[in-house]
């Protein structure tokens, strides 16, 4: 029934792009008006966004940069162009207002607590600022930017997104202190510098949204002489493209419904192995985020390529893009 009107979908909802604002040379904020009542989100969560390019729908996960409950009912995401990518170059350079996009589920546990912390420390790097932007906007709107330290790293200052808005926060809220770092000239941030940049970091709820290197360095510092319970992290570049370093011994994959046999050398995820055998599994992010590729395991065990953990029971649903067979497996596909 959903195909009666293009904006009335069967499964997922759609949204209309109402505005596109350029943030930097390689990033834009896309403001979207949902066409059905918006399910809502917590600051820090990400949205599965679907765009159609040449007939094929591509799904990607982007952090919502808008604060929940905007007056105009709109939401926004702020993608940065990934060179050689398929979707982000289109969003940054090819999209125009009026376009229709698909809105998948909202997910993510990296969120601002319902009762915002009295003292907070945000550590962001590059596009890792996007979920934190939603948190900061939420706090600013509620006049709760009372004791917040924000350390933001970017390779070059000219590449920093939201720079103007962050300066406005700093001017308007005396409790918001911003420390911007250009890593090309000042070097990369590491956990040892916390004392110098934010002496009372142990007393703050800390939110880190950064690539793995920086995140792990902060985590190590919290484990060594802080309280890891106060640390909240979001990691980007979750698992590479399904080719993790944690490879296992591989195995054969029997796709029961299509009757196809595929095999993986242990570094290829089920999704890639099936594609090489000529079976297209519907997928989205290929990073283990969006769950578009979930399929049902019937027999055997799999290895999570991101963590190296071997798991799986018959009847369990698992993501084809991040799991590789560990021995022979059977799937309902």
């Amino acid at each position: 029934m959903g195909l009666l009107t293009p904006l009335w979908a069967m499964g997922d909802t759609r949204g209309r792009v109402v505005r596109i604002r350029r943030e930097t040379a390689d990033a834009v904020t896309v403001v979207i008006q949902p066409q059905t009542p918006w399910q809502g989100h917590s600051p820090g969560q990400y949205l599965r966004l679907g765009v159609e390019l040449e007939g094929t729908c591509h799904w990607r996960a982007y952090s919502l940069t808008s604060a929940p409950g905007r007056q105009d009912g709109c939401i926004s995401v702020t993608p940065r162009r990934v060179e050689g990518g398929r979707v982000s170059p289109y969003l940054c350079d090819g999209l125009s207002p009026g376009a229709t996009v698909r809105l998948g589920g909202v997910e993510g546990g990296f969120t601002l607590p319902r009762r915002p912390p009295k003292r907070a420390l945000f550590i962001t790097a590059g596009s890792g600022i996007t979920p934190v932007m939603s948190m900061l906007r939420t706090l600013a709107a509620a006049r709760r930017l009372t004791d917040v330290v924000h350390i933001h790293c970017e390779r070059l200052a000219t590449r920093a997104m939201f720079a103007a808005e962050l300066r406005v926060f700093a001017a308007a809220h005396s409790g918001y202190r911003l420390y911007s770092r250009a890593t090309a000239t000042d070097g990369r941030l590491n956990g040892a510098e916390l004392d110098r940049l934010c002496a009372d970091w142990r007393r703050r709820e800390t939110f880190v949204s950064a690539p793995a290197g920086l995140r792990e360095s902060i985590e190590a510092r919290f484990r060594a002489d802080g309280d890891p319970r106060r640390l909240h992290t979001e990691s980007f570049q979750a698992g590479g493209h399904g080719r993790g370093a944690k490879r296992g011994r591989g195995g054969t994959i029997h796709l029961r419904n299509s009757g196809v046999q595929a095999s993986s050398d242990g570094s290829e995820a089920i999704l890639q192995a099936a594609e090489q055998a000529g079976v297209q599994i519907p997928h989205g992010c290929r990073l283990g985020i969006c769950r578009s590729c979930v399929c049902r395991l019937r027999a055997g065990r799999v290895r999570d390529l991101r963590t190296g953990r071997v798991h799986g029971h018959p009847g369990e649903y698992l993501r084809a893009c991040i799991n590789a067979p560990e021995g022979a497996i059977e799937l309902d596909l």
Binding site: G11, E54, G55, T56, P282
Partner: protein, 380 residues
């Protein structure tokens, strides 16, 4: 069933490995070319077919609310029949083949699609996409309706039960969806212990669930909506539309595999088959039907049965475009390309069903069996 020494020698054995390699390369080239060109136009096509079909269903159900008036009954029944035909053939069958999976659209996808038919999607996909398409026309392996229920080839051993096949074929035609659903359960395999009981019961439950939904929709809910004065005529209209859809699907499907020129194969002939050999078997086991663009759409483009069997997951809208190229490839190898008008293809099938109800029967002359036509002209 006689599976050894085929009575008629098909062209299958007469292309050597090198020739089959060339054939496979030529057909792969056609597939790769189409795959590379799939795009927004194809996506628009399937979406517009689905949209039109949904509109037609709405219109037909609305007309049938007043089905006690004869003109409304006729118009509503006709519209509902066409809608059901489009839904099963051009949309359901093809979506469930994965022809539109490249769109990565969660709504138009082989995993999530379910159709207006008694067969549950998942078990149908296995029985059809795998058992039938993989083993097309191999006697004893292809469980598509001929070759077991019907004696459609003189090489199948006669049994007295086949005396009744003209009769039960008519019943099958009228109640095709139920026939397919029950047949795919493969009760004999379960009784023989070849199919796990648990799996059998699971599939049976699937059919029961599906049957309940179908019966409630067509024979309870919509008649009730039509009210006290129209419920009987709406019920009759829905029944009629289902029978028309079933008879149409049955006719299209038998025309795809059972006209005289199609070949069947023994398991030995298909053993250790190369990709080229697989392509060739698909060609020899399928027959096309000629017709107008509207006819092809109502046939779910299964009127391009040859192209569909070569490339089961290619979007159906492309079969028409590649048909001349496929035909040209086969003619280059001196192979037959089976096609004919709907009436004559259908008449041949029904004549075979009548004749082969009785013992004996001779294989019909087939295209491509003359050796001189096989003087393959290689351009490379």
């Amino acid at each position: 069933m006689a599976v050894s020494a085929p009575v008629s020698e098909g062209p299958l054995a007469r292309l050597d490995a090198t020739q089959l390699g060339y054939l496979s390369r030529d057909l792969d080239a056609i597939r790769n070319d189409v795959t590379a060109r799939l795009g927004a136009g194809d996506a628009r096509y399937i979406r517009s077919v689905i949209r039109r079909q949904r509109q037609l269903v709405l219109v037909s159900r609305a007309l049938l609310l007043g089905s006690r008036h004869k003109p409304l009954w006729l118009a509503g029944t006709a519209a509902l029949s066409v809608a059901k035909i489009l839904e099963n053939l051009e949309i359901g069958h093809n979506v469930m083949h994965g022809q539109w999976d490249w769109m990565n659209d969660p709504d138009i996808n082989s995993r999530s699609w379910d159709w207006d038919n008694a067969s549950p999607a998942a078990s149908w996909r296995h029985a059809h996409n795998y058992v039938h398409h993989m083993h097309s026309n191999i006697r004893g392996k292809d469980r598509d309706l001929g070759y077991t229920l019907l004696r459609i080839d003189p090489e199948q051993e006669w049994h007295p039960v086949y005396l009744f096949q003209p009769l039960y074929n008519l019943l099958l035609m009228a109640f095709f969806e139920w026939g397919v659903a029950l047949y795919d359960l493969n009760t004999p395999a379960m009784l023989a212990g070849d199919k796990p009981r648990e799996q059998y019961l699971g599939e049976l439950k699937g059919i029961a669930t599906k049957a309940r939904k179908q019966i409630i929709k067509d024979y309870v809910a919509f008649p009730l909506l039509s009210g006290r004065r129209s419920w009987r005529s709406t019920l009759a209209a829905n029944f009629t539309a289902n029978v028309i859809r079933n008879a149409w699907a049955h006719s299209i499907i038998v025309c795809g595999h059972f006209p005289d020129q199609t070949y069947t194969f023994s398991e030995a002939e298909a053993a250790n088959e190369s990709p080229g050999g697989w392509y060739l078997r698909q060609l020899l086991g399928a027959a096309n039907v000629e017709g107008s663009p509207i006819f092809h759409m109502l046939a779910g483009n299964l009127s391009f049965q040859v192209e569909h069997h070569l490339f089961p997951d290619m979007p159906s809208s492309r079969y028409r475009e590649i048909a001349p190229r496929v035909r040209e490839v086969f003619s280059r190898y001196g192979l037959p390309y089976n096609t004919g008008p709907f009436g004559s293809q259908l008449a041949m099938v029904h004549r075979s069903i009548l004749r082969l109800a009785f013992p004996g029967g001779q294989p019909r002359p087939k295209g491509g069996s003359g050796r001189r036509r096989l003087a393959a002209r290689f351009r490379r």
